[in-house]
């Protein structure tokens, strides 16, 4: 990820589907080298926002820019080289071995002559950094959920992207694997990539992310460092829960007390 790192920006993005407004006038700028979590209840528009950010959905109004240029004007290949996207509930149609699977992350880099030395090197490095080197020959579909999540992240890393955008990469993982996956995403940010993830786990977001954007009904409810973005008021409004911050051994912890009565 040696090239000049860029800035990913949504400018007044609005999306409506079937007459319903999914996103309304969203403006956000994401800095490289940081992990940003997008939080919000189901249906808040998180996935739609992410698919706009990676250039897979054209907003009805507004635009997304990457280093100042409109993302929809970039060629698909150029865009794919710079942004790795991990969709929610990723499909795996065939039983590829893990190395071949991770190699898919190089699709946009491939020349007409197949895999280059640079491709092989990047794939090897991605396998190593995700601890999957020993699994390289295994059928991807025989991996456990946690291993498979790492394989998806390795696939993203193999493309050596400036940006990693992941839609709920931690959902369905047990606690240990959540921490593993989070560490991998943090490591990518430490190497200079911009990381944007949507997550459901508030505690995780508060601990692992530099910045939190809370969305609700297609709008931004709050935006800032965890302690500022996740106030009791915001949580009550977004999730309908009573919660507050308590002092923990390794920093402040978010304590969710009860579901507010639905009125």
């Amino acid at each position: 990820m040696g090239k000049a790192i860029t800035d990913l920006r949504a400018e007044g993005v609005s999306v409506s589907l079937g007459g319903r407004d999914i996103l309304t006038d969203i403006s956000l700028a994401f800095a490289p080298g940081r992990v940003t979590a997008i939080l919000g209840p189901n249906g808040a528009g998180k996935s739609t926002l992410l698919s706009c950010l990676v250039g897979l959905r054209a907003p009805r109004r507004g635009r997304v820019t990457l280093e100042g240029s409109a993302i929809l004007k970039l060629s698909a290949r150029e865009r794919a080289k710079r942004i790795a996207y991990l969709p929610q509930t990723p499909e795996i149609a065939w039983g590829l071995d893990v190395r071949t699977f991770v190699r898919l992350g190089r699709t946009a880099h491939r020349g007409v002559f197949g895999e280059s030395a640079a491709d092989a090197f990047a794939v090897g490095a991605a396998l190593k950094s995700t601890g999957l080197s020993d699994f390289a020959a295994r059928d991807i579909r025989t991996l456990s959920g946690g291993e498979r999540a790492r394989a998806h992240i390795a696939r993203a890393f193999a493309g050596e992207p400036d940006w990693v955008v992941a839609d709920e990469p931690l959902t369905g993982l047990d606690l240990g694997h959540q921490l593993d996956a989070a560490d991998l995403l943090k490591a990518a940010a430490a190497r200079g990539a911009g990381v944007v993830v949507s997550v459901h786990d508030l505690g995780f977001a508060a601990r692992a992310c530099d910045r939190i954007v809370v969305m609700m009904e297609g709008q931004i409810l709050s935006d800032g460092p965890p302690a500022e973005a996740l106030t009791a008021e915001v949580l009550a409004k977004a999730y309908g829960v009573d919660a507050h911050w308590v002092a923990g051994e390794s920093g402040p912890l978010l304590d969710v007390i009860a579901r507010r009565s639905l009125s």
Binding site: A76, A80, P87, L96, T100, T107, R138
Partner: protein
């Protein structure tokens, strides 16, 4: 997950193809050993050059076209039950071909018939994608294919029945039950360029088919153009399969069986299946065609019937295996 060392499978399939080709030239109602063949003066020379050589070449070309079409359709639809015959793409090609007969356009030139057959096959692929969606699940794809197949077959029968044609019923059989018998070198020349062109387009889809392992969204995120891939598949299958049907009629199940067999050796990566599927398709069709020549009756069994006899139980087995996996 088995991985063959490099090109071992391809070399084996080519060796088999050479052996089958030699056998195909020798075998038939009269056994003609190549070692005892005289020069052009020998009466058996004519049997070889005018009948068996075209038949053998056509078997190789058509088998390769069907195997490659099946492998790329399966990769594109992520559906291991896809096959140009089963999905009605070949029947659409036959309908295109028969339309030229119905409209009395084919007299003189085989090119127009071939062109319409290829057009029919391409329309078939596009209809399937439109009806079932490129990400359609196995069941909706099969249902769409069954419907397309029925409509196209009925169209073939209707067009031939309405045409002022005393041989309508035998023509219907010719088109819907494909065969390699009694074809000439003209047929080989007609089909070959289109099968090669279509094959080249299908081979170019390899990286996109691999990326589609991650589904449509995943493939798009990897920078793959779905529209370009769809165009390549529709045109490639149209050319290869359409040209094949134009000279042999509908032969099903080759494209279904072959990719499955190949997966046992090289794994499931879609791009890795393409070339071996073309080779194995040629092997399979050639072998089946040699076997039907051995049928003892005056009218030899159509090779499509032999393929169906082999393919239908295979298809059933696959369905049962898939249901077990889902259950």
């Amino acid at each position: 997950m088995r991985r063959s060392g490099g090109v071992a499978l391809e070399l084996g399939l080519i060796a088999l193809l050479i052996a089958l080709s030699a056998l195909s030239v020798c075998a038939g109602r009269v056994w003609i050993p190549l070692t005892h063949l005289g020069g052009p003066g020998d009466p058996r020379w004519l049997i070889i050059t005018a009948l068996r050589l075209p038949r053998t070449l056509l078997g190789i070309l058509v088998g390769a076209a069907l195997g490659l079409s099946g492998a790329s359709l399966q990769g594109y639809t992520r559906n291991p039950l896809a096959d140009p015959g089963v999905l009605g793409v070949s029947a659409m090609a036959a309908l295109g071909a028969v339309l030229t007969l119905y409209l009395n356009l084919a007299t003189g030139s085989p090119w127009l018939l071939t062109a319409l057959a290829m057009g029919g096959a391409a329309v078939g692929v596009i209809l399937l994608i439109l009806v079932a969606g490129p990400a359609g699940d196995a069941v909706s794809f099969l249902l769409a294919g069954v419907i397309l197949s029925s409509i196209a077959s009925a169209g073939v029968a209707l067009a031939l029945g309405l045409a002022p044609n005393p041989w309508a019923s035998s023509e219907i059989t010719t088109w819907l039950m494909g065969s390699l018998a009694d074809r000439s070198i003209v047929d080989v020349r007609t089909a070959a360029p289109f099968i090669f062109a279509g094959g080249a387009l299908l081979l170019a889809t390899g990286p996109a088919l691999d990326a589609l392992t991650l589904g449509e969204t995943g493939a798009r995120a990897l920078g793959v153009s779905l529209r370009r891939t769809q165009m390549l598949i529709a045109t490639g299958v149209g050319l290869a399969c359409g040209a094949a049907v134009a000279v042999t009629g509908v032969i099903g199940f080759v494209g279904l069986i072959v990719p499955h067999a190949v997966r046992q050796f090289v794994g499931e990566r879609p791009s890795r299946l393409l070339i071996p599927s073309a080779l194995a398709g040629a092997d399979l069709l050639l072998a089946a065609d040699i076997l039907v020549r051995a049928t003892p009756h005056a009218n030899e069994v159509h090779v499509s019937v032999a393929m169906a006899a082999l393919g239908a139980p295979f298809f059933l087995g696959l369905l049962i295996a898939m249901r077990r996996k889902l259950a």
